[in-house]
């Protein structure tokens, strides 16, 4: 019956296209969407649907005893489908079972072993957990950082949301703007009945068009606290047959928390993937970097976490490395672009003493000895208020004539969509109060960078402040427009910018827009900036993703805004998070490594290689270690684009400080920040060919990667492996090779310059 309704919707949508005529075609010179006709709009008009608001996973305490009567992961109805939605919800509602183990759990077989036997081949052995077995991928420092809370989800095909997580929302649909009466974001108090559909006019996405957490919308958010270790059990409930993917996406997964301070076995190594019917336990210790060397007695009042009752629990580590806005996403070797595009991306907000998501509570602006910076958020909860703190996942997408999500797997330059979506809604509006808001903006595209302007209906720029870059709170808020940039700086794939906009300057009823000004012709990199005036006057035709993509509708605010005024924290004013001074001899003595991204081999036309320390340019081979820094050692890594193309280079695990861009100091929004994505190569004035980064790796060992975050480049195969090693460590972590039967290991080898004495 459900299938019938879905088919009917498709047919109606097809009819609607005919009735309303073809949409405006893309300009001739722009291959956008890459290798496909423009995505039909089924008569939908811009800014006619509310934006989806991220749904919290909701964490719960890790049980201490094994569940006695829990059911296994529901079986699959066929080789080509995910389990039934109601059954999957019932399963995910059970407590965590079996209990997590330090080494991968290989005591039970794959939940779907019988089905796999029928669909693929009979399995002689298999394991319930896909984590590589034994010591090499055992949870590091397990006794020290045992998981206290957990959440579990299944990567599954698109389905209707049945309200599984309603009761796990911190706001409970009862507080602040989520309250029933008068709250802007109550929305019926449930996500029950929500389908995966980018606009009410569009068809519902078929099960194998979108694969995401739970298989449901809204997109998901993890809200975590420092000092409270999280266990994330990720079930793979995707079809057993690879081909059941509507043209793109791999059914094997590995989940990378970008850029948490996480041990390697929980970082989502590209080669440590797991199969349908298995889970993988990621254990995220939630410690501050510097745990082993800085503030080891947990005496620093700034290093802390909300205790749930208005106070702070002090923790070890360097509070100046407090992180806030992160995301996690698939990192499957060869398939990251396709899987992330298909829906395998979630956001993560980390709460801390300085950034607790609670305004008006012992604010730093009231007393400089108070850690709480009081960013716009709300007051109903002790931490994690989201009334005025909104995650925005911005990504370009495309769909076929049936409205089903489309990806061109054959374009290696990069894939561009023609429709910009925010939180998986096409051209949405968001009701906002006339007060300050924090927006956590993530570029979740495959190959598209954005340059975002905030403007009024009349095309006037709206002033705003940036407070965090890549999830790292800046030393000082940066006001925009400024002499270096009128609008938000260019934002590459995976970069996060947290900004504060004050809507109190506008009368209720005012409409404010987010506008993209950065033109792409193809996926190799951005082409040029389009003047705002041309865009607003409709004088520009070309890249269909240039222009307005989101509308804010200002509503009256009856409350008192108790959030900080970022203008008080700009350079010359108060400090948000001071930058550690660089020890005197570090720049002279740091170990230097050099990475050239691009077309580097004079006999090899493969452009996507990385050349380490002027050695050979390599494609991805996870058996090879290109750098093996010793924990605690200062290093300076120079990243170049050697082909002039644009590459957002990403180093896992630790953030770095940009020392120079093409030899000069970086702009204001990078000077006071730590970063994990470094734009190099062709771009706007915000980019440069070369970046020098000061970085060091601490607390955890093991195998990580560095790669271009234009994920089409990453997959073909601009990615290298580097290992964090203990002093004197001589044996490399062997290379895991996952199969249906389990994971075995092959030898690893170091390039000659990987290890430095």
């Amino acid at each position: 019956m459900r299938r019938y309704r879905l088919s009917f919707a498709v047919a109606l949508a097809a009819a609607a296209t005919l009735a309303f005529g073809a949409e405006k075609a893309s300009a001739k010179d722009f291959d956008i969407p890459t290798g496909a006709p423009s995505s039909p709009l089924f008569g939908a008009r811009a800014f006619t649907q509310p934006m989806l608001i991220f749904e919290e996973f909701g964490t719960q305490p890790v049980p201490t005893t094994d569940c006695a009567n829990c059911a296994p992961l529901p079986p699959v109805p066929s080789c080509n489908a995910s389990p039934d939605g109601a059954a999957l919800d019932a399963f995910l509602r059970q407590p965590l079972w079996p209990l997590p183990t330090r080494e991968a759990n290989a005591t039970r077989t794959n939940y779907w072993a019988p089905s796999i036997g029928g669909c693929v081949r009979p399995l002689s052995t298999s394991a319930i957990e896909g984590r590589p077995p034994g010591e090499w991928f055992a949870h590091q420092r397990w006794g020290e950082f045992p998981p206290e809370v957990y959440f579990q989800t299944a990567q599954a095909g698109a389905r209707v949301n049945r309200g599984l997580r309603d009761a796990w929302q911190r706001h409970g649909y009862s507080m602040g703007e989520f309250r029933r009466n008068g709250g802007l974001y109550h929305r019926g108090g449930t996500t029950n009945g929500l389908e995966v559909r980018f606009h009410p006019n569009f068809p519902v996405q078929q099960q194998n068009s979108v694969w995401t957490f739970d298989g449901t919308m809204p997109p998901k958010l993890l809200m975590a606290r420092y000092g409270e270790a999280v266990l994330f059990r990720h079930f793979n409930a995707l079809p057993i047959n690879f081909a059941a993917n509507n043209g793109f996406g791999a059914h094997t997964l590995t989940t990378h928390l970008h850029n948490g301070h996480m041990p390697a076995e929980s970082d989502g190594f590209a080669g440590a993937f797991f199969f349908p019917g298995q889970f993988y336990d990621y254990r995220w210790p939630m410690i501050l970097a510097g745990y082993d060397s800085i503030n080891t007695n947990a005496g620093d009042r700034w290093a802390g976490t909300p205790d749930g009752a208005g106070g702070i629990t002090r923790i070890r580590g360097d509070w100046r490395e407090t992180q806030s806005t992160l995301w996690f996403h698939d990192h499957m070797i060869d398939y990251t672009a396709q899987n992330v595009y298909k829906g395998n991306a979630a956001m993560m907000n980390i709460y801390s003493a300085i950034d607790r998501g609670r305004e008006g509570l012992r604010c730093n602006y009231a007393n400089p000895n108070n850690p709480n910076l009081c960013f716009p958020s709300g007051t109903a909860l002790d931490w994690g208020n989201r009334d005025y703190d909104v995650n925005l996942l911005i990504a370009d997408k495309a769909w076929d004539s049936n409205g089903q999500l489309f990806f061109n797997i054959f374009n290696l330059d990069g894939f561009l969509g023609d429709r910009v979506m925010v939180n998986w809604t096409w051209m949405p509006y968001l009701d906002v109060r006339a007060r300050r808001y924090r927006f956590r903006i993530l570029n979740g595209s495959v190959s598209r960078n954005f340059k975002i302007a905030v403007v009024t209906q009349a095309g006037q720029r709206v002033p705003f402040h940036m407070i965090a870059n890549d999830g790292n709170i800046l030393e000082h808020a940066v006001a925009f427009p400024n002499s270096e940039s009128q609008d938000l700086p260019e934002q590459a794939i995976a970069e996060r910018y947290d900004i504060i906009i004050d809507f109190s300057q506008f009368a209720p009823g005012t409409k404010i827009y987010l506008v993209n000004l950065l033109e792409h012709e193809d996926g190799r990199g951005p082409n040029r900036l389009i003047p705002l005036a041309d865009v607003m006057a409709n004088r520009y035709a070309g890249d269909p993703a240039v222009g307005k993509f989101m509308e804010f509708r200002v509503a009256a605010y009856g409350g008192v805004d108790r959030s900080m005024d970022p203008a008080d924290y700009v350079e010359g004013g108060q400090t948000m998070v001071p930058r550690p001074s660089i020890p005197a001899n570090v720049l002279a003595t740091a170990r230097r490594r050099d990475f050239k991204f691009g077309r580097t081999n004079n006999t090899d036309e493969t452009p996507w290689t990385i050349r380490t320390d002027d050695g050979q340019g390599y494609g991805a081979d996870l058996h090879r270690v290109d750098a093996a820094p010793t924990v605690g050692q200062w290093e300076i890594w120079t990243l170049h684009s050697s082909d002039g193309w644009h590459h957002p280079a990403h180093i896992h695990f630790e953030e770095g400080r940009i020392l120079t861009r093409d030899g000069a100091p970086p702009p204001a929004w990078e000077r006071g920040a730590r970063k994990d994505v470094y734009r190099i190569g062709r771009g706007t004035a915000d980019s440069s060919n070369e970046v020098e980064v000061l970085i060091r790796f601490r607390e955890f060992l093991g195998t990580y990667v560095e790669h271009c975050h234009n994920t089409q480049h990453e997959d073909h195969a601009m990615l290298l492996r580097w290992d964090s090693r203990a002093p004197g460590q001589v044996v490399a972590v062997p290379t895991p090779i996952p199969t249906w039967e389990g994971v075995y290991y092959e030898p690893t080898w170091d390039i000659p310059t990987a290890v430095r004495p």
């Binding site: 299938r3 019938y4 088919s7 009917f8 498709v10 047919a11 109606l12 097809a14 009819a15 005919l18 009735a19 080789c79 080509n80 693929v120 081949r121 034994g134 090499w136 194998n208 047959n241 690879f242 081909a243 059941a244 993917n245 509507n246 043209g247 793109f248 791999a250 060869d334 797997i409 054959f410 374009n411 290696l412 006999t603 090899d604 036309e605 493969t606 290689t609 050695g615 050979q616 494609g619 081979d621 058996h623 073909h716 195969a717 044996v731 490399a732 062997p734 090779i737 199969t739 039967e741 389990g742 075995y744 290991y745 092959e746 030898p747 690893t748 080898w749 170091d750 390039i751 000659p752």
Partner: protein, 318 residues
């Protein structure tokens, strides 16, 4: 108008409903990257037969495709030699459920005759077809496979990537020809086949893993640039066994030979010509190595010679 729209809507609906009962079976094969995506262009194989790209070459198959031209003196010989090692690693599966295709980008000069000659040079095994076709057709094919067609005046710069795919499942992976042949073979044999074959490597405990013996630059260059045609003490392959060569040839000559064999052949260097005649007339390719690269390789060859001598003279040595 409205009635027409309604009629089309109903027709579309009926069509969708008609497919529902088949949906489980139909989904077993992906539908996106099939006959209406791949051009069914006619190519001529090395036996002079006309074959259609989609119908005959890729439909329902696991395939490895690369682009070559037979007068190429640098990249193509190495690519072909590398692909040959992938072919070897796959054994008799090539020709049975995995098919290799090398398609010429030089439609003007490459004919079935030149293709056959090239194949003989490289001792190409069964299941591997060489093809040529019109420039327009080959360019269309390249574009559809995500490969930028070369400038016809500069074929040397053509894209040499290996394209590996399973047409039935719609999985397509592209990798550099310089990668480890075993890794490429695993992609073809396992990854593209839903890991349906039993693992070809025995499951190995991590305690048995040892670090790679020689991770020097010379060893790496030899492994990726030389070992597809040469061994050191393991007998002739496409090219000569290089045992003892590091000392047998004058260093300057050897260094230059590694760097620019094409020029030395063009200059009719007598040793170079003699070598070529002896080894099936496969020209030693110009791999774009630097002087320092060549020295690293020579050092590596010499170390291998010394190690063999020591092993032979050691008690109990083999």
């Amino acid at each position: 108008m409205l009635r027409a729209v309604f009629a089309i809507g109903v027709a579309a609906l009926l069509l969708v409903l008609a497919q529902v009962s088949l949906s489980d079976r139909a989904q077993a094969q992906q539908l996106r990257w099939r006959a209406d995506y791949f051009p069914n262009v006619a190519l001529t194989d090395h036996n002079g037969r006309t074959v259609r790209f989609y119908d005959h070459m890729i439909r329902g198959k696991v395939v490895a495709i690369n682009f070559v031209y037979t007068t190429c003196t640098d990249l193509c010989p190495l690519d072909t030699a590398q692909l040959r090692r992938v072919h070897e690693a796959l054994g008799d599966r090539v020709g049975r459920d995995i098919f290799f295709y090398s398609i010429s980008v030089d439609s003007e000069n490459d004919t079935p005759v030149t293709l056959r000659r090239f194949m003989r040079l490289f001792d190409v095994g069964p299941g591997w077809t060489f093809l040529t076709g019109s420039r327009a057709d080959v360019e269309l094919l390249q574009r559809r496979l995500g490969i930028r067609p070369p400038d016809p005046r500069n074929l040397r710069e053509h894209d040499t990537r290996f394209i590996m795919g399973n047409e039935r499942t719609g999985q397509w992976i592209r990798r550099s020809s310089y990668e480890d042949p075993q890794l490429l073979a695993n992609i073809l044999a396992e990854n593209l086949n839903n890991h349906a074959a039993s693992p070809s490597n025995r499951r190995q405990s991590y305690t048995q893993v040892t670090p790679a013996a020689d991770n020097s630059r010379g060893a790496y260059l030899f492994r990726t640039r030389c070992s597809s045609c040469h061994t050191i003490g393991g007998g002739d392959r496409l090219g000569p066994d290089l045992r003892g060569v590091a000392d047998a040839r004058p260093h300057a000559w050897l260094n230059r030979w590694l760097r620019e064999p094409d020029r030395m052949i063009a200059e009719r260097d007598p040793t170079a010509l003699a070598l070529m005649r002896r080894y099936r007339n496969v020209p030693m390719p110009n791999l774009g190595l630097t002087e320092s690269d060549a020295n690293h390789i020579i050092d590596y060859m010499r170390r291998q010679d010394v190690a063999r001598t020591q092993a032979a003279s050691a008690p109990g040595g083999r």
